[in-house]
Symmetry: C2
Subunit: 220 residues, 2 copies
């Protein structure tokens, strides 16, 4: 059942069967439950993680209470920040939190090294993963440095909602997504509510007018 995990991997670099088979041999499958800290400053892994099932949220945490979500690792992707940390052996402050129950595949460093050396497809996959995260972070920098908060909030609501019409999140959660304060989120949501773009109840936000929200989010 784990045998087909590589088929889930996205991006330009799908791994062929031969690579997949080699991976399976050396990998250890691990499970973690929702809310677990997968990695963090105090919790540096000695293996490289590939996510088979579930989702990880990677968060930058400030000395004060504020957080900001850097990106999410979905099933089929690799979490290169752990790799980065392992290889650079530098301090960093980001932490990864299991947003659902997860199944991950841990690849010991030596095995990783050998695969990178010997399998071109694997190499391409790893580099693509790195590149993707670098570009994700560029996006975050752009948003935080130059983006307006209402724009960012509208975009985040739409992203969190997906195909649904409702988001289950407190104002505090949304603030921690965007790296701002709860009061700021409250203010902007009030405004959205007055304009009848959303309806609020405790812990839930109904998106009444997605097209209008998309307009706001597009002003980026």
């Amino acid at each position: 059942m784990i045998g087909d995990w590589t088929e889930r991997f996205q991006g330009t670099a799908r791994l062929p069967r031969a690579v997949r088979d080699r991976l399976i041999k050396v990998a250890r499958v691990t499970h973690m439950s929702e809310g677990t800290q997968v990695f963090g400053p105090m919790n540096v892994p000695d293996s490289l993680f590939f996510l088979y099932e579930g989702r990880i949220r990677v968060v930058q945490r400030s000395d004060m209470g504020r957080d900001i979500v850097l990106y999410r690792v979905d099933a089929g992707e690799s979490c290169v920040l752990t790799t980065a940390c392992m290889l650079a052996e530098e301090a960093y402050e980001a932490e990864g939190i299991a947003e659902t129950d997860i199944t991950a595949i841990a690849l010991p460093k030596a095995a990783f090294d050998r695969l990178v050396a010997e399998e071109e497809a694997f190499r391409a996959f790893v580099f693509a993963a790195y590149s993707r995260r670098l570009i994700d972070l560029l996006r975050v920098v752009d948003d935080v440095a130059f983006g307006q908060m209402d724009v960012r909030l509208a975009a985040r609501l739409l992203a969190l909602a997906g195909d649904f019409k409702e988001v289950t999140a407190t104002h505090q959660h949304l603030a921690s997504e965007l790296g701002t304060a709860r009061e700021v989120v409250s203010r902007i949501l009030q405004d959205f509510q007055k304009r009848e773009l959303i309806a609020q109840s405790r812990g839930r936000i109904a998106l009444l007018d997605k097209p209008a929200l998309r307009d706001i989010a597009a002003a980026e």
Copy 2:
């Protein structure tokens, strides 16, 4: 004279002579003068750059006039953002600008691939470079999202001054370093001046009290 370039490379992964010799064979040496755009959205390189001499400033540019410096590439380092871009083939908005005259070594993609496959030291070097930049970007996100402007400005002044007592930069330049507006920099520098931490003249800032500035910068 270029033969010893690998010796300059920093970090955990210095390249041994064998790797170095292979590199020299396939690399093309290029020169660019100060102010040239080394790479950018409209100017995607087809090779991987290793900087032999000089410095490159990597800047994120917003749709409005504002900029922010992401990091600098010094002699002996590699510019992985170009790599990232090449491999991911995704759009990005950052651009690299030669801050001095530079000498770079361009490695065609095929040669890069072969070296990564065959030379463990080179592989380690490349991964370390990626990791370093990821961590640099985490730092930028942290600064922009949670840092106070006076703290960031004090830190940047000290960094730009190095061992000297004076910084040659306009308020606009400093604003573009930090991703803020000129007026904000002016205000804060006024304050520093009133407190006799600096002295200003057109285009130059003398750091009168570095220890005090360091105190301010340390409040990060």
